[in-house]
């Protein structure tokens, strides 16, 4: 078993498979991609995450060759791909609508790309059969796309795009049309197939959970720019901006002013008549600079009594409780009206919960629980 962590982006000697070099794409007046640079490495499962209209689909279509950059270059394996038409690129795409050919059977759909390469008949059959096995579609080979279910269609689309063994596979919202349960199963299937084939995957999605689950690295995009590119845990634990912190998962944002506390952290003056909060931070702040403390609800502890050793503790009363079964999220209103979310696992029966609506409670968290952000 290989124990070394897969992290080619940390290795300066590693050559990226894909390089965006100061790429800008404009549609008339509208700038879809704004001077963007990005490296994606071989065997990565890279997720482009962002709200609709953020430019993620444009990035993908430029990789596939359906759009050309207005400025800048895109390199694939060290080669500028701008002059190469879509049909000559070692890149295949799985379309959001799947774009299966309705007049061809599942088998012929998968064979479609291979036939264009005039592959010998025997090799072609073998390859198609292998793809059918990989996606568990053997029994459906003779059916037409309209005769199979949505999940099966999704797998046909995947098999078809993988059949040519592309250097790079692009997936445009691949699981968008599936219901939640099927989507979760398929996510693991995708990861499995990516690992088995060793293909580089770039996935476009607006579903942050999906991106976090499947990807080795996630790029959070907004208005044609990359907000942050990092592994899912780093994106979640150490977002570099309020936008990213807010986009990924649930978060409490507390605005205040930073004040050096002598050590490696800061005091944050955040409300009139309240004790200053304490947070450790690697980011430098000037005294008096406005800042945002981003803290995840599950890192906020909720107790009936004031904890004695907590670095930060604030009092409030329970405003609302969202019961999710395994978890409960408490919306605690502070005296100044701010609402802080605290999440706890429901390890006990709900009837034995020690606080309920309108109860006074204490919220507490450590100095390292949150992230201090400038903007």
């Amino acid at each position: 078993m290989n124990t070394s962590v897969f992290a080619p982006w940390d290795d300066p000697g590693e050559k990226p498979l894909i390089q965006f070099r100061n790429v800008t794409k404009r549609f008339g007046e509208f700038t879809a991609i704004d001077n963007l640079s990005l490296d994606i490495f071989e065997k990565e499962f890279f997720a482009l995450l962002g709200p609709s209209g953020c430019g993620k689909t444009t990035m993908m279509r430029m990789l596939a060759g359906f759009e050309t950059p207005t400025e800048g270059q895109i390199m694939l394996a060290g080669q500028d791909i701008d002059p190469i038409p879509p049909n000559k690129r070692a890149v295949n795409m799985m379309f959001q609508s799947y774009a299966l050919f309705p007049h061809l059977s599942v088998w012929e759909n998968i064979a479609f790309g291979l036939r264009r390469d005039s592959m010998p008949k025997h090799d072609l059959e073998e390859r198609v059969e292998a793809m059918l096995r990989l996606t568990r579609l053997e029994q459906f080979a003779r059916r037409k796309p309209h005769q199979i279910s949505g999940g099966q269609r999704q797998r046909v689309a995947l098999a078809r795009s993988l059949a040519k063994a592309p250097k790079l596979l692009l997936l445009d919202e691949p699981l968008g049309a599936l219901d939640k349960k099927l989507r979760q199963d398929t996510q693991f299937e995708l990861m499995d197939i990516q690992e088995k084939t060793g293909t580089t995957f770039v996935i476009v999605t607006h579903d942050q959970e999906e991106a976090m689950t499947v990807a080795s690295r996630v790029a959070v995009m907004d208005q044609g720019q990359l907000m942050q590119v990092a592994t899912p845990d780093r994106i979640y634990e150490t977002p570099n901006s309020v936008y990213v912190a807010d986009f990924i998962g649930d978060v409490n944002i507390i605005r205040g002013r930073a004040r050096q506390n002598g050590g490696d952290g800061y005091h944050i003056d955040w409300a009139e008549g309240q004790e200053a909060l304490t947070a450790a931070s690697d980011n430098g702040f000037d005294t008096g600079q406005s800042c945002h403390l981003a803290i995840r609800p599950e890192k906020v502890a909720i107790t009936a009594e004031r904890p004695s050793d907590a670095a930060n503790a604030v009092q409030g009363k329970v405003h609302d409780i969202a019961y999710l079964g395994n978890l409960s999220t408490y919306y605690v209103e502070l005296p100044n009206g701010i609402i802080i979310k605290a999440q706890t696992a429901n390890t006990r029966r709900i009837s034995r919960r020690s606080y309920t609506w309108e109860d006074p409670v204490w919220l507490s968290w450590t100095a390292t629980a949150g992230v201090l952000l400038a903007n």
């Binding site: 000559k88 295949n92 050919f101 264009r116």
Partner: protein, 293 residues
Amino acid sequence: MRRAFLIAVPYLWLLALFLVPFVIVLKISLSDAAIARPPYMPQFDWAEGIWAFLRELDFENFIFLTEDDLYWKAYLSSVRIAVVSTLLTLIVGYPIAYAMGRAPEEWRPTLMMLVILPFWTSFLIRVYAWMGILSNEGVLNQFLLWTGIISAPLTILNTPTAVYIGIVYTYLPFMILPIYAALDRLDGSLIEAAEDLGCSRVQAFWLVTIPLSRPGIIAGCFLVMIPVIGEFVIPSLLGGSGTLMIGKVLWEEFFSNRDWPVASAVAVVLLLILVIPIVLFQRNQQKQAEAEQ
């Protein structure tokens, strides 16, 4: 009760305006020509009874059709003209439908309107207009003479060429509309997928666009071919005496020759010839409807 009534209306319509006239024509085709009014024998007479009447009917008009080679030549020529002009209409119509399908969304209703626009003028007037364009002193010849491309006027009117021009012009919308409907439904990402999988533009067209517009092509071809086989106005106005078409033969048999029984036999055979493509057309439509479910 109400449902039965609703169903009854179209069936009564068919009965009164198709089935009854057809039975009358069939009966005439089995009669003999006579100098009388109406010009055929026998007439049904209550006094003699139905058996005496039926005994006088026979197939000699149909046998006559096989003996005179005018008729089968006319049928064959009609079918040939129909097939050739259907192909010509397809060649002209497909690119138009394709361009319409790829035109920006906001232009499509206008383009559609332009295709349908000729229907607002009488068909007969449009064919007469073509006579004005194609005749020796017509607009086309004057234009070509003026540009100096030709030095003597071309004889187009009263030739098969004029018939083809007239047919292609008249039936073009029937070809364009079903093909456009098929292309309009075509998902653009299918073409991108084909290119992504290694097709050139041309290959993607042949392997995806054409097969997926096939129901439209088939529908368009039938919609053109079926009426063209029996076409009468265009060959008689533009074709002159050289163009042999069954519609014209039928007309002459009926009005010039006043041989109603033979004319009726010609009509019955024409109908039988047309039933084959009509049935095929219906099957195509049905298959398409099933595929869309």
